[in-house]
């Protein structure tokens, strides 16, 4: 159940957006071929992706029940359970993420922000308290936090990561544009806007 490829996860996420749109339009059922056509993805790929995660099996001449399918994808992507996470680095980007109310829809609950700047400590951003980094371990154990978001300047990214790992965090979501060393048992996902951009730019140049 857990061995979904990264590309498949990426696509599932796209299907989800697409299906929610369709549902809002009042459409009840949809076929994999229709999805594939609208999204410019090979139909068999779509079928494979859906077959792996769908509880229902699609009906010939009808397709899949959209509502059930949305639920299945959400479950597969982990959006239906709630994970507590913390955020370290309450700068501009940190603010944006703290303020983004949509995360709950993705099974993510930011319990608190952390910083070393005393002028930020004690404030509240969008209902989330900002603590000094010293209190990280407390919060992590209290709220059973497994994931942490890094939005500090790149000079402090390694130190922030070390703090979080010491506090018991197992998964890092890194927005700082730098390489971070982590032990084997910790996962990291680098959110590198520049590389996304490079991919787009590269595709564009091919034309």
């Amino acid at each position: 159940m857990s061995d979904i490829s990264k590309r498949s996860i990426d696509r599932l996420s796209l299907y989800l957006h697409y299906l929610r749109d369709k549902k809002e339009q009042g459409i009840k059922d949809i076929s994999s071929v229709t999805i594939a056509g609208d999204m410019n993805i090979n139909a068999v790929t779509v079928k494979k992706d859906l077959a792996r995660i769908a509880g229902q099996s699609g009906k010939p001449r009808i397709g899949f029940d959209i509502e059930t399918l949305i639920h299945d994808i959400q479950t597969a992507l982990g959006y239906n359970k709630l994970d507590n996470v913390v955020l370290v680095g309450v700068g501009q980007l940190g603010h944006v993420l703290l303020s983004y109310n949509g995360f709950a829809g993705y099974g993510l609950n930011i319990v608190a922000g952390f910083d070393t700047d005393q002028s930020k400590v004690g404030t509240v951003v969008c209902g989330k308290p900002i603590f000094h980094i010293d209190r990280l371990a407390d919060v992590v154990s209290k709220y059973d936090v497994r994931m942490g978001i890094i939005t500090v300047p790149k000079e402090h990214a390694q130190a922030a990561a070390d703090c979080m790992i010491a506090a018991g965090i197992q998964g890092l979501w890194n927005f700082a544009p730098t390489h971070i060393n982590i032990p084997e048992n910790v996962m990291i996902k680098n959110e590198d806007l520049a590389s996304s951009l490079a991919i787009l730019s590269n595709e564009l140049r091919k034309k």
Copy 2:
């Protein structure tokens, strides 16, 4: 030269961060095996990635000259030429991207922001003028813009994309969490934070 795989581009971007760190530490040369070891990537993969884009060939027992390698990666990723882009949707996230000075280092120059909100039109964010969306086509043709960033609320994402495509933009970088329909000849890169998160969360669950 242009047919670098997406995964390779992703990795090249990581190498770049890593190599810049090493350069700052005063290190002159580095071997692919060292890079691979530090980054937990297979050594052959690193060699292949570098071989494809490096102008120099690495020297036995020394490795690659870091400075040259950095330059080669930047060239391969398109960071050494400057592309003009526009941004549509001057909300919170739009502000962050407009304010981010690091883009220049990635060959990206945001020439202007666009919005429909009259209270925003005419203002300047971080040196970049905000225009009404009606003026998009003018700016695109004047500055030879090929790429556009979408940071509008998801309800308006399709309309924004249509505007940009009509204005002649060929590549879209979409931050709105929704599916966008585009013609065949236009490229789109969906920047889906939720799916990144799902990938991390999924890896975490495997353990």
